[in-house]
Structure formats: structure tokens, C-alpha cells
Amino acid sequence: MAKITLDNLAHAYYPNPKSEDDFALKELNHVWSDGEAYALLGSSGCGKSTLLNIISGLLHPSQGRILFDDKDVTQSSTADRNIAQVFQFPVVYDTMTVRANLAFPLKNRGADPQYIAQRVQQIGAMIGMEAELDKRARGLTADAKQKISLGRGMVREDVNALLFDEPLTVIDPHMKWELRTQLKSLHHEFGHTMIYVTHDQTEALTFADKVVVMFDGRVVQIGTPEELFDKPQHTFVGYFIGSPGMNVIPATISGNNAVVHGIDVPLANGYGALEGKTEIGVRPEFVTLTQGDGLPVKVRRVEDVGRHKIVRAELFGNDINILANEDQSISPDMTHITFDTSRVNVYVNDWLKSGEVA
């Protein structure tokens, strides 16, 4: 187990990168604390798998250093880093039995046979495959194979970190919950540093202590699920986290007032006069439909999703989502919206701007 430090790290898949756009992973400094569970969240192609492969040593970064505790491992092989990684698609050794598959990493490291037998049994129970241990891996279903991959990732107790690259993509939903819960309990039990790559926010928010949100090769925010919800540092985070995501509305900001198409929206803090692309971000949870106050909207559709209603509406030609309580009735005369003032965030060129308390 180790603390992992990324120092000045960046990666480009082509030699001689010139502009920042050439980098699949833009310059990054970060410390992954020992024993924490992280989720690496972002849409496809944002560089999260690249980052993961650099940490595990499958990929060598174009620049920067990686330190495990205080040892520089940038040039070390995957084996020397002593890391476990589980991939998106199941990787099993077809010709081996399930048992031999699980034992493989331990055997390669020359562990004691008695210990291997006992440990494999334990892992077999954890992934719910005790009955199939002596079956060949070849004929199994995709999710059984992925469970083997997970098991193989967890079989070594002394790894520096456990990395997961969207491991539950091929697993069916009820098993997903179960495996994720097991991963969490495993984390509590052994305190491995875990990094879990996913594009599924639910998965990220339920699994991790800290979520790292990536966008376009850059880490845009690292925080607890609450922080990501309340104070998204970047409009992408606001939009990506939450269901539906945050509403981002172009506005002119002056002092503690935002102006949207000529209509004043009060803000909790003062911002002075802001230059650049200015927007306000409000989560659908903090938008209320009214019969006359605030900004004019045109309601187009109401979706009842059980616990609440999602109102899809139009604000000056842009989409806006509003979350209403299940028991709140939506009437045709509700043509305006107001915001919960303390929950309105201000963004300049997509980045959060914090204001002074007025």
C-alpha cells in the first residue's frame, strides 16, 4: 500500500507534442493518499484510461514523474510496481480452470502453495464462484469471466494499489451492486489504495471517498460527492454529475446581480464586474416553478420518475430542467422560475468563480 504522487505528469500518444491539444493527458500534479478509494470519472476519451495505464506502468508518460510513497517508479515495470489492475473486458486464461486463473498471480510470484489454496478459496467465495472453481474458464459467461478478472485483481494482498478500468461494464445490474459493495467492503477491510475508472456517476459516487472528474485530458475537480454536487468547479462537472445535470445559463454579472436576457437574478455573493464568457449554474433541484416571479419559461414536458418529477422547459430558446416534488402539481399557469439564491454558482470561461460575501 502506498501513497501515489503524480508530479508534473503529462502524456501524448504521438512523439514531439507541440500544443496543449496534442496531449491526451494534460499536465497534472496530484497525490493519491494511501488507502483511499478514488473514482476517476469522465466521458469516453477524456484520458482516464491513459492516466490509469500510466499509474500501472503499462504506459510510459511523455513527461513527469510518478512516486510510490517517496520512491520514483516512473521507469519501473508493472511487475516492480506491484499493482493489480482489472480491465473493462474480461481477461481470463481460457485453458485454465477458474482456480488456476485465480492462483496465477500468486504462483507467478512464488507464493507458498498452502497459502495460495486458502487464498483462492477465500476469493472464490467473495466473487460467488466457489462451486465453479474447478471448471474451465473457457465456457463461462462474460460476467462470470469478469468476476474471475476481478478475483485475480484482488487475490494479492500486498499490492500497492488496485486499479479498475470500468470493470463492471459487462456485468448485469443486480450483480453490479453486489460486486461494488464487495469492493467497498474489501477496501474497508484491507485499506488498499483503489482507483476506479468509470463513466457512470452513480458508480463513482457510491464507490469512492473522493471523485476525480476528468474532462478533455484534464482533471477538472477532485472532491467528495457533496463537493461535486454543491460546488462544481467547472461547468462540465455540473453537467456531468447530477441527474439531470446542472443548468448553465449565459448571464451578465455585475456585483451581486446576474442579468439573464434583461431580467435580474439575485446572487448570494458579490463578484464585481466579470470579463469573458460568464454564466450562472443552477442545479435542477434548486429551481422552482412559479406563477409569475422570475424568468419566463415554456414547459414542454413533465417526466414522472417516481421519487420526483423532472420538468423539461425552455428558457429563452435554451433547455432548462427543473426538479419538482412528487406531490407538487404542475399547472399550466406556472410560466416562470426562480432560483434558490444561495445555490446559484457563477462561472467565468467554464470555471467556477467564488464571490465575496456581500
Binding site: 508493472t78 489492475q85 481460457d94 507467478n108 465456457g139
Partner: protein, 289 residues
């Protein structure tokens, strides 16, 4: 919908029937016809029943040729399959050199059998051939026209030169289809090079390797032109393989009856072995799924 009955549709398969009849069925039936008759010339034939088959099954000459043939196929398979796999494993996986290797390796496959035979026939000659002359100059006794061992070595090396590329190309295709994640997982699991080969590459190549073995077996079992051009079956009968013997019998001695019986049994053996291979392959596939 009701089915319309239209027997005219049969005419559509007619061209294929005619083609197959002339290219395969009729020639084969001619052979069957010869195998059960005897002739003393003047185009007069007499019914002989299964006599020729009986004679052939008890002919030492045929069993010897079959023995040589099996030995030849066994030797070239034991060399070409591992060698082809080895070459494929060591080829560059992508980029210019990968394409370069593919092209260079395909070259022997494009050379006609006859030309391959001629190349090696000259290459091995002690008086003017580069190989033969050099070996002779080094004091190594090498003469494929007189020495059985030298003759065998020559035709085996020739076949290896001609056909190993095919195995390598097939194995390479098999290797290329293995997703990167397998190699990455193996690295993480600290698998040795041998373990990667044994547990990832070999199982994934099994399908194409079976095809390679089948193709190389059938082809080597039917080989004629190359050894015929190089050694003519000699010295003595040392390199007289089945088809060389067959041609000698049918065209050299004009023993149509025995040669026809020989051909049919030859054909059945190939059919049988191919069927066994095919069945094994299908079963492998089933286990895969």
C-alpha cells in the same frame, strides 16, 4: 404465402452441375472404371473386380511409398509448425517493418512448384550450385543424386523454405487478433514469457494453427512436382513419395488398373485424414463457445 411450384428453377443449378461433372465427377469415375478392369492393349477391357485393390494392398512398393510419404509429412510438420509460430512471434507487430516482413515472407508462396524445384535442383548441384559447391569446398560430402540422406535433407529444406511462410502468416494473423488487454493483464499478473505463450498466445492461435496443420498436411501428402524436379524420386527409390510412385505406375509403366486402385485409396486416405482434422477442429470450436 403459398409456394409456387416451378421446376424450371432446376435449370439454374445446371451450369454448376455440368462444371462439377466435367471437372470432378467424370474424371473420378473414369479412374473408378479403370480400377476394376484389366486391359491387354487395343483398347479392350476385361472385368477384374477388386483384384487390383487386393494387389495394391499387398504390394510392398506401395507400403514403402506410403511409409516414406508419412515420414516426409511428419518431418515437415514438426519443423514448419513450430518454426512458423516462432517466426510469427518474433515479427514486428506493426509499422513499416511488419508490412515488409509480410511481403518478403509471401514471396516463396508465389513461386510455382516447378520453379521452386528447379531453383533447389541447381542450388544443390555440386558442380555449379552455390550450396552444393560450397559444401563440397568445405569438405562436406553432399550429393543429393547419390546420397539418400542428402536427398532427404534437400527436399525437406526446400519444402520448409517454400511453405513455412504460410504457417507464419496464419499464426501471425492469430496473434494479431489477441486484444492488448490480455498482454497487459499478463504483465500485471507477472506472467513469464513462456506463460504468456502457453496460456494466452497458444490457446488463441489454436484455431488458425489447426487450419495450418491441415493445409500443410494435405499439401505435403500430395506433393509431387518439387521432389520430382530435384531428385526424380531417387537415389533408387529413396525419395519416391506416393504421387511420384503413382505417376511412375500410371504413365511410366502404363499400369492403368493398379494405378487407378492406388489413386482411389490415396484419395480415400486424404479424405479420411481431412475429415478427422475437421471433426477435431469443430469440437475445439464448440468447447471454445
Amino acid at each position: 404465402m403459398e409456394k409456387t411450384i416451378n421446376q424450371k428453377a432446376w435449370f439454374l443449378v445446371l451450369p454448376v452441375l455440368v462444371l462439377v461433372a466435367f471437372s470432378a465427377v467424370i474424371p473420378l469415375m473414369t479412374v473408378v472404371n479403370y480400377s476394376v478392369q484389366d486391359t491387354f492393349g487395343q483398347n479392350q477391357f476385361f472385368w477384374a473386380g477388386l483384384e487390383w485393390f487386393d494387389e495394391m494392398l499387398h504390394s510392398e512398393r506401395m507400403w514403402d511409398a506410403l511409409g516414406r510419404q508419412l515420414m516426409f509429412s511428419a518431418i515437415i510438420l514438426t519443423i514448419q509448425i513450430p518454426l512458423g509460430v516462432f517466426v510469427a512471434l518474433n515479427m514486428p507487430k506493426s509499422g513499416f517493418w511488419s508490412s515488409f516482413c509480410l511481403v518478403v515472407m509471401s514471396l516463396p508462396l508465389l513461386i510455382p512448384w516447378n520453379v521452386v524445384g528447379t531453383i533447389w535442383q541447381i542450388f544443390g548441384r555440386v558442380d555449379i550450385g552455390l550450396l552444393g559447391y560450397s559444401l563440397d569446398a568445405l569438405g562436406i560430402s553432399y550429393n543429393y543424386t547419390q546420397n539418400t540422406f542428402a536427398a532427404w535433407v534437400t527436399i525437406i529444406i526446400m519444402d520448409v523454405w517454400h511453405w513455412t511462410s504460410l504457417v507464419a502468416l496464419l499464426a501471425f494473423a492469430g496473434l494479431k487478433s489477441i486484444p492488448d488487454a490480455y498482454y497487459q493483464a499478463a504483465k500485471i499478473d507477472q506472467a513469464s514469457r513462456w506463460a504468456i505463450f502457453r496460456y494466452i498466445e497458444l490457446p488463441k492461435m489454436m484455431g488458425v494453427l489447426m487450419i495450418a496443420i491441415l493445409l500443410r498436411f494435405m499439401d505435403s501428402f500430395m506433393i509431387y512436382t518439387e521432389p520430382f524436379v530435384v531428385t526424380g524420386g531417387g537415389p533408387g527409390n529413396a525419395t519416391t513419395l506416393l504421387s511420384i510412385d503413382l505417376v511412375k505406375m500410371a504413365l511410366g509403366q502404363f499400369d492403368l488398373g493398379p494405378a487407378a486402385a492406388f489413386s482411389i485409396m490415396y484419395y480415400l486416405v486424404i479424405l479420411l485424414i481431412s475429415w478427422v482434422f475437421y471433426t477435431v477442429m469443430i469440437n475445439l470450436d464448440k468447447r471454445e463457445g
